[in-house]
Symmetry: D2
Subunit: 277 residues, 4 copies
Amino acid sequence: MEKIVLIDCEDSAGLIYKISKIFFENGLNIEKNDEFVEKEKNRFFMRTEISGEADFDLVEKLLRRDLPKDANLRIVEKNKKKKMLLFATKESHCLGDILIRYHSGEMDADILGVVANHDTLRPLVEKFELPFYHLPAEGISREEHEAKVIELAKSLSPDLLVLAKYMRILTPNFVSHFEGKIVNIHHSFLPAFIGANPYKQAYERGVKIIGATAHFVNNNLDEGPIIAQDIVKVDHSYGWEEMRNLGRDVEKIVLAKAIKLALEERIFVYDNKTVIF
Amino acid sequence: MEKIVLIDCEDSAGLIYKISKIFFENGLNIEKNDEFVEKEKNRFFMRTEISGEADFDLVEKLLRRDLPKDANLRIVEKNKKKKMLLFATKESHCLGDILIRYHSGEMDADILGVVANHDTLRPLVEKFELPFYHLPAEGISREEHEAKVIELAKSLSPDLLVLAKYMRILTPNFVSHFEGKIVNIHHSFLPAFIGANPYKQAYERGVKIIGATAHFVNNNLDEGPIIAQDIVKVDHSYGWEEMRNLGRDVEKIVLAKAIKLALEERIFVYDNKTVIF
Amino acid sequence: MEKIVLIDCEDSAGLIYKISKIFFENGLNIEKNDEFVEKEKNRFFMRTEISGEADFDLVEKLLRRDLPKDANLRIVEKNKKKKMLLFATKESHCLGDILIRYHSGEMDADILGVVANHDTLRPLVEKFELPFYHLPAEGISREEHEAKVIELAKSLSPDLLVLAKYMRILTPNFVSHFEGKIVNIHHSFLPAFIGANPYKQAYERGVKIIGATAHFVNNNLDEGPIIAQDIVKVDHSYGWEEMRNLGRDVEKIVLAKAIKLALEERIFVYDNKTVIF
Amino acid sequence: MEKIVLIDCEDSAGLIYKISKIFFENGLNIEKNDEFVEKEKNRFFMRTEISGEADFDLVEKLLRRDLPKDANLRIVEKNKKKKMLLFATKESHCLGDILIRYHSGEMDADILGVVANHDTLRPLVEKFELPFYHLPAEGISREEHEAKVIELAKSLSPDLLVLAKYMRILTPNFVSHFEGKIVNIHHSFLPAFIGANPYKQAYERGVKIIGATAHFVNNNLDEGPIIAQDIVKVDHSYGWEEMRNLGRDVEKIVLAKAIKLALEERIFVYDNKTVIF
């Protein structure tokens, strides 16, 4: 049996010794181990893949006994597929990339379906025999629309919510229902552009680099903990549509990377930043 | 004799024909030619390296006759060394990189000297037998200090002013004396950070990419036309000093690239963005 | 009417003048123009997008009259969709990426279908309502198999043949039927690895970078003119399957880029290298 | 007191427990810890930064008692400056970059001097008040020349030998005297080019990427364990001298990175590949 043990807590002397002792005395092998101490905040992070037969309730109790009171501790099964709910609007580049990876077996998750505020992407989603939930936002208030989305999402019990170019702003209420489970992708540039059509703004500013950032969503819009980033170089000869198309390629690759990290339980979030093993 | 002809003007039919006709009829060969039309602004940019013996006053008159009234036209000698004045404060990474390139002959320019508001870098500069002008800013007003810097700079008649981590903010007055001749380097991140110690801010935000932007200085501080940008990837394990050290490597390479482009007369500036051939 | 004029020939004085004169005198506007002179081979390359109503037969005759005898000249319609035939084997990452781009309208071409030596990818291809041609190679000679593929491909008259991880080696005979029309993608590393499972070799060598190269296929296997390349960084913690997965992401992005360049008629091939505008 | 403990050995159950137990029971704090298990070779790697007062002879004896017989174990002082001997020929880009970093205090090592087979770089080195050892190779056999270099190098007892574009091939005899201590930088391309003027070869092949590799030197020339690699993109418009200049920038940055990793004792070598923490 393979498990992943995730610990973060205040740093103190002997933590690795105490934790590895419990694994050793319970007949568990460490297959892969990563630690990090954030010195400025005196915070310890440890992610350990262990194998072996053991009473994992006991292991958890022993860990809790020996770890600081404030410790976050999770023990998850390594090979259990996670359930993923996708959100989209009209653009297909991120969604299509996820579907192809899912179809080939590269993306090791169950996809519960796709929630969209427009019907545009239904034909694409249905090609892959996945449920498409069209929840239009027209004619109702933001709160009414979001209540429907929350109700649907809660009924499906996703482990991960992926905003694959979902062009609706989520309220704090939405976020509070799925704390730490929502991954978003957004463009990012040097310098940064806010508002409508950022690629046009970037074009007009004459940037030489465009990029994308995948991050967890918290109540600080587009400012949640960063999971992955990448960029591509451009020059004056790129029109803004070309920049957008290149940006889409970066967005899909960065989002796929972030999803993989989340599915493999490699990400810790602390104080609005990530530690990724 | 080799010349570089730089033209930018409103676009209209037949420009390339009219220009190349003048070159042809005056016995000039086109060695290298680049054009670009910015469609949204209907602006034509052309940079041509020509060789041959001709009456260049006549060539210029003919070009002015056939180009639109608003055309910007410059004809410069290709192999004439430019005079460069460097500005620095305390950090040596950009300045040192320029000095090594200068020493090896890779940087094809004459360096007039280094202006600094601190005396820290004098030993480094004097190793390379270059004048070091220490103009301290302590105890005098910003205006008084800048007046001294302007006086010195004007007396040296530089073609290019390179701010190699010069940590003083230039006033519009300074900029107006050297319009389009000042190249600066600054850090840039995704997302962007403003204010003191940006690397510490970036560390605290948990960015995965740090970068640098070289740009011309205009009166919109750190917002002038972008010449070159690059980035390097980081992760949670990089402390802010390590991010800063990596950032310095990016800064020096990007600044050197921008200087090279400026020395080779490859950059057009129009409406706060660059066209670079 | 918009056309693209593609010229490459021995360089000589006045070429741009002579060519732009013909455009001007026939009422054609230059929308976009790129030239390059390869000095070591004294070769001139020019790609011009022109608009306007003209007798293009006459324009072509005039160009041929004024260009050197050895000139390669092509005048193609700018907005005519090209016909693309895809080749694959079992891996879906490149093919899937092309299909998603095709479905969204981003890939501006008609796809004639997918030729494959295995039946694995049929379900994926048929989702997109495209013909899937399964031509198995088992039990027949290489020549017999290839004869069938050539017959099929010729019957479909493709403008571009894209090897989207088609794991069969093409013979010179095959290549001779579609000279300059076949684009391939292959892994490339620093240093390079040849033979089976290059990602495993790369893993065992401990490389820190993996990459991909898109190139035209000629009779020098995997050595045709390079169109596009990119890389991604790895470290010791990446197993070879992870390297392969990352390599697949690079492969699909690089192949898509090469296809776009080919569709837009931006590539010249000369002496086994490319000039790309 | 801060020490770095470096262990690599056959993997077995309980290693982390046994090692951290010894640290804990001897009053040593783990400041930073990294481990990696190379599954295919069943090899365990661990690098731990520890602090505290202890009898380190005893700690070492206890570790040797509890580790497998074949274990490699080293305990080094964290803040002790290493002694570095530089080798160069005529090119200054790598050497100059190292000297500037050394001058600014960024490169945390003592430089013993520069050994060169030409006298070209003497003025540069002497600017930085470092010994310059000119050992010409003309008129003597390879063996005689190398004997002189070995004699000099041994007399200086370097911890690290850095070949900063030293254009002489080292014999196995030379390497055997400084096993695991020699870092080299060489160009690397996609695909790779061997022999004289690789940048010219790369230009003629029309590559779109050029790169550099820093590696330890072993008896397999240019094939030692890779420490760091990076690349830069080029296109047809880059002449080979421009490619070489860009390549030099990559070379110097990659070499500096490799030196930093070596000075900080972050590199394990096993079976011709590196594990780097």
